[in-house]
């Protein structure tokens, strides 16, 4: 499901939780990085070497929980905002979660905020224990929330309490068929899909000919927007692959310029 929704599956999360013994010893880092991507700053920044070196930059990070102190340095620099600081020793019934938070305004210590889970659902109220703005301009602020112990592996975000945003008025959609001929395909020259389809039906099966007849692609954007769309329509109607579709010659200039500019150009030296 992770790949479809962006919400990490339970099994992924459970796999990297440290031992019960370690969890009772104080704060630790919890890295929710479950996809191999080329990224390794966390392994370089840890002063205790607790995020183990990678053989390959695409490896998943691994934590040595015995040496990790939960110091938060890695959480501030992680480009993916995927590192949280968990402390399950805060009180009998509560723990804390340190959350990387790049929104303005930051909450203040003591504020009560709405704590959210990985899917963005509000699951409880939480009190802000600490705010480390990490003013060094590159880093991410870290906000530490006090949450019920049983939610320590659920709370991963929060929002400030405020009134719900005013909803936009609902409107009636137009009643038209899917992609009718009136759909615009070249915005610069106002050429419609219908015109392009008719040309393809007449046997014009390449971008160059369609451009000459319809002017699609002759406007200020020089076809950067409509060319791939016209190619798509040609492929749909003719079965031609993109590599087989004639684009026509690309000639200077790459953008519309005035004759006055050309006439004012430099003289040839030779």
């Amino acid at each position: 499901m992770y790949l479809r929704t962006g919400v990490a599956d339970k099994e992924l999360v459970v796999n990297t939780i440290p031992s019960d013994e370690r969890r009772q010893k104080g704060p630790y880092v919890f890295i929710e990085c479950y996809q191999e991507i080329p990224c390794d700053p966390c392994t370089k920044i840890c002063p205790f070497g607790s995020i183990l070196p990678m053989d390959d930059i695409n490896d998943l990070p691994r934590t040595d929980y015995d040496t990790c102190t939960g110091c938060t340095i890695c959480a501030a620099i992680c480009p993916g905002l995927a590192i949280f600081i968990i402390d399950e020793t805060y009180s009998e019934t509560e723990g804390t979660v340190g959350i990387p938070y790049e929104f303005s305004p930051l909450p203040a210590k003591g504020d009560v905020v709405e704590a959210m889970n990985r899917a963005g659902e509000v699951i409880c109220d939480a009190t802000v224990l600490r705010v480390n703005p990490n003013k060094k301009r590159q880093s991410t602020p870290l906000v530490t929330l006090v949450v019920p112990k049983e939610l320590i592996m659920e709370v991963r975000f929060f929002r400030l309490k405020k009134n719900a945003a005013d909803a936009l008025p609902e409107v009636d959609p137009y009643d038209e068929e899917n992609l009718p001929d009136s759909t615009v395909i070249c915005r610069c020259e106002n050429v419609t899909l219908g015109e392009v389809r008719a040309l393809i039906d007449e046997g014009y099966d390449n971008v160059d000919e369609i451009k000459r007849i319809s002017r699609a692609g002759m406007g200020p954007c020089q076809g950067r927007t409509c060319r791939p769309l016209i190619m798509g329509e040609i492929r749909r109607k003719t079965g031609k692959e993109f590599d087989e579709i004639e684009l026509g010659a690309f000639r200077p200039p790459t953008k519309p310029i005035q004759f006055e500019q050309l006439m004012g150009g430099e003289e040839d030296d030779n």
């Binding site: 479809r4 962006g6 990490a8 996809q35 191999e36 991507i37 080329p38 990224c39 390794d40 700053p41 370089k44 920044i45 930059i57 695409n58 992680c78 480009p79 993916g80 905002l81 929104f103 303005s104 959210m116 990985r118 899917a119 301009r137 590159q138 991963r156 975000f157 945003a165 909803a167 936009l168 008025p169 609902e170 409107v171 959609p173 137009y174 038209e176 899917n178 992609l179 759909t183 615009v184 395909i185 020089q222 950067r224 927007t225 791939p228 769309l229 798509g232 329509e233 692959e241 993109f242 010659a249 690309f250 200077p252 200039p253 790459t254 310029i257 006055e260 500019q261 050309l262 430099e266």
Partner: protein
């Protein structure tokens, strides 16, 4: 007509790195940037980058642009920077026509490194010309460059890294994101990005597409439909979502007009995002004077673009006699970085695509 050893077209991550590598190899460089500032898309990237130290991992993109520009400023006698300069044509006698302000200038170079990046793909659906429908890049420019919110409530079409990141930036700007949809059955972007948006309450609907926008003067909503495993609409699954912005983030396409001008051999490679040139291991195309770096070689992350820029800067310089003092080691290091950035599962399609257009050792 100005003459230079190496002309680099595009001042994004690839072009900036190429300029630095070429200049430190001893070549004289002109770096062209269409925009009024260097950095390309980096200036809109407020998130921390992935990768490793060498690609400035954990640094926010916007600061990477400054770091790279500062390096060039240290070599003013080697690097000339033309801002607000658009390359409009590359001719077979190795002359580039450049629009600078209202003037057309000519620039003759021994080598060109084309690092023009990519343009956004669009999508055909009913009423897709209504005001309020943006490319994700435009939304980023509005918010992160100009400080303007695009609207109140956004439908994001596309769950690749750009769609996910722009959704996150919209949330940061106080804009509601109604949903992120993607026609593919799985999320294309990094899952850590997806998770941080998901836990903020934004639904991600895979196997969904937009069939129509509606609204009188501008977008007032969109119709979504679920897709089956063959990506065909499932009847009866249509639903309306009220939004005033539809943001299209369905991928990028290499911006390669100049390569067509120059006579480079181009092929359509789906894994790389569109038409790309054949090249050798040194990032030289079949035209001796033309090298490539960044998204124009195939759509990837900025981290790979930077390494490719460095590699092309080194190899293009060496081909005209400006060999970096540590040339072999530097080139090896670039190739090793590229190999490792593409080694994981997310790099598989890149490697497949690259294999189709890369020749030689």
């Amino acid at each position: 007509m100005k003459e230079v050893d190496i002309a680099i077209i595009g001042g994004g991550p690839a072009g900036l790195m190429a300029a630095e590598a070429a200049a430190s190899s001893g070549a004289n460089v002109v770096l062209l940037e269409r925009d009024g500032h260097l950095g390309g898309q980096l200036v809109k990237q407020t998130h921390k980058f992935f990768g490793s130290e060498k690609q400035y991992a954990s640094t926010r993109g916007i600061y990477i642009a400054n770091i790279l520009e500062d390096k060039l400023k240290e070599m003013p006698d080697k690097v000339e920077i033309w801002k607000g300069a658009t390359a409009i044509g590359l001719y077979e006698d190795d002359v580039l026509a450049v629009e600078v302000g209202k003037e057309i200038k000519k620039l003759k170079a021994k080598r060109f490194i084309v690092a023009t990046g990519a343009s956004e793909k669009s999508l055909v659906f009913v009423n897709n010309e209504l005001p309020g429908i943006y490319g994700a890049g435009a939304v980023q420019t509005l918010m992160n460059v100009n400080g303007v919110r695009p609207g109140q409530r956004v439908l994001m079409v596309g769950a690749g890294n750009i769609g996910l990141i722009v959704s996150y930036q919209l949330l940061q700007a106080g804009v509601e994101v109604a949903a992120i949809i993607d026609a593919a059955p799985t999320i294309g972007g990094y899952l850590v990005h997806a998770s941080k948006i998901r836990r903020a309450g934004v639904p991600i609907l895979t196997s969904h597409t937009v069939t129509r926008a509606y609204g009188k003067e501008s977008v007032e909503g969109a119709t979504l439909v679920a897709l089956d495993e063959q990506w065909q609409p499932l009847p009866g699954t249509e639903k309306e979502v009220a939004v005033d912005v539809i943001c299209i983030s369905v991928g990028l396409s290499p911006l390669a007009e100049l390569l067509w001008h120059a006579g480079c051999e181009m092929h359509y490679i789906p894994q790389l995002g569109g038409h790309v040139p054949i090249r050798d291991k040194n990032l030289k195309t079949n035209v001796d004077a033309v090298y490539i770096a960044g998204d124009i070689t195939g759509i990837e992350e900025a981290s790979s673009a930077m390494v490719e820029g460095r590699l092309a800067g080194l190899t293009a310089s060496a081909s005209i006699g400006f060999k970096h003092d540590d040339y072999e080691a530097e080139v090896l290091d670039c190739n090793e970085q590229l190999r490792s950035l593409r080694a994981g599962p997310v790099g598989e399609h890149i490697n497949q695509g690259m294999a189709l257009v890369t020749s030689g050792e």
